[in-house]
Amino acid sequence: MKRYLTLYYHFFLFSLLSRMEYRFDFVMSAIRSLGWVFVTIVTYTVLFTQTQTIAGWTKEEILVMFGIFMIIDESWNAIFSDNLVRLSDYVRLGELDTILLLPLSTQFFVSLRHVLIFTLPNILIGLGVTLYYLSQLSLSLPWWHYLIAIALVINGIMIMYSLMLLFVSLTFWVVQLRAFWDLYEILTYGAKYPVGFYRNPVHFFFLFIVPLGVAFTFPAEFLVKGLSWHIVGIALLVGSGLFVLSHKVFYYGLKRYNSASS
């Protein structure tokens, strides 16, 4: 465990140093991120000229969810995206051979080697949006509710990671995969709105087939509306179940890779 922590510290340091040359990227990325915050607030202002609540959500409550959406999405982006997007190339160009020889977990290396440093300020912007609209709601929640919300956020990041790991693991079967970012865009598009907005079968799809509702809606729903304890339990089970599944599928695919190259 300690060895992996030390390693990750070095991965982080290496990513930071290699990006320091492009310091301007931090500013650009933050400005873009603020642009999207603006677009989203205007969009919801338009939607809420029509009605006071949508499927039981007020404008402030939805913007809390948008803030949490940003935290999860940008964290996933910073930690995992720059790694998973490379897996297909590792396989196609045979670079995976070198990684397999390393004396550490292959999944650890292909998931965490590169940190997308310059998107880190965006996580703070998401946090700012969340806290601002939470303060508008003037809820008085016990402190441990925030701890559970944080657990659900981490759960959401892991669901997002597991889903994308499942997708990129396809590369062991089809080799060429380029639709990574397009698929990501489609998935996050549906995740942006509270899952309660959707009717069946879309509702069912985002809860049970591709559980982005669990990942992105539940943390905010828990804070602003409250969720029963067994739903929170199920959410955490879904997250860990999906994580185990993607882990298994990844190594199952990896076995195919071994047999193909030797």
Binding site: R32, V42, V46, T49, Q50, T51, I54, A55, D182
Partner: protein, 263 residues
């Protein structure tokens, strides 16, 4: 014309290699409107809309799938990258204007996307058949013209954005800011009539975005009066001319700069 046909054939064959990617794009073309439609149905529920408003919303987002496919472009990034890597040099020597490559690419892209969106059509009709009506021929004719003009405007717009590759290496940022404006003004997230209280009206006039998407959809749905139709088509034609002039100027200026690097 013969040159264009040869290019078309080439691009079309090229595309069959990218079937997987186009499948994902098409999935996006279905998922995004379905998500928005669900959001708007939730709004309609909350405000207690009457049947005709609900029908309008469903039709708006279903028709959007097809208008989207026809006006869609993706060359901005490719063009900018080709300029950055110096790949356009080879094309400049060829006996046809370079833009023709992109026109051919764009048309073959659409042929593939239309094939895939037939799948979307079946799914959407199955889901929402009770709200849909048989389109009227009185709206199909002007509708087709307006969609076509929208496609030309969006194509020229993307081409101009792509040519920013002559000046900057950061096409992704430009594309993203473009996407932000497109989201707010084109009518992709909401029919424009709902936004007039929030977004000032002049924004919709001074930018071409609504003429790429929202206006054509409303014409197809027959929600536009005769005067509005003529006005809209007039504005579309003005945009086509303006964008063509801008394209010529930017292309000339860009090439001068580009020549500076190569020679």
């Amino acid at each position: 014309m013969k040159k264009l046909r040869a290019l078309l054939l080439m691009e079309f064959q090229h595309f069959s290699e990218y079937r997987g990617d186009i499948f994902v794009y098409t999935m996006g073309a279905i998922v995004i409107p379905v998500v928005l439609l669900n959001v708007w149905l939730a709004i309609a529920d909350a405000k207690g809309s009457n049947a005709s408003e609900i029908q309008y919303l469903v039709q708006y987002f279903v028709v959007q799938v097809f208008v989207n496919v026809i006006v869609s472009t993706w060359q901005a990034t490719f063009l900018a990258n080709a300029i950055q890597r110096g790949e356009i040099s080879a094309h400049l020597l060829k006996p046809y204007p370079y833009i023709m490559v992109h026109i051919a690419n764009n048309i073959s892209e659409k042929v593939w996307k239309i094939l895939f969106s037939l799948v979307a059509l079946v799914i959407l009709v199955a889901m929402y058949h009770s709200y849909l009506t048989i389109p009227l021929w009185q709206t199909i004719l002007p509708g087709s013209l307006v969609v076509l003009l929208g496609a030309v405007i969006k194509f020229m717009w993307s081409q101009i954005l792509g040519m920013s590759g002559f000046w900057t290496s950061n096409i992704y940022a430009i594309r993203e800011y473009n996407q932000m404006l497109y989201n707010l003004i084109s009518g992709v997230l909401f029919p424009i009539k709902y936004a007039t209280q929030v977004i000032p009206a002049f924004v919709f006039v001074v930018l071409p975005y609504q003429y790429m998407l929202g206006f054509p959809i409303n014409v197809l749905l027959g929600k536009v009066s005769q005067t509005e139709l003529f006005q809209g088509v007039g504005i579309q034609l003005i945009w086509v001319i303006v964008l063509y002039i801008v394209y010529r100027i930017v292309w000339q200026k860009g090439l001068q700069r580009y020549g500076g690097y190569g020679g």
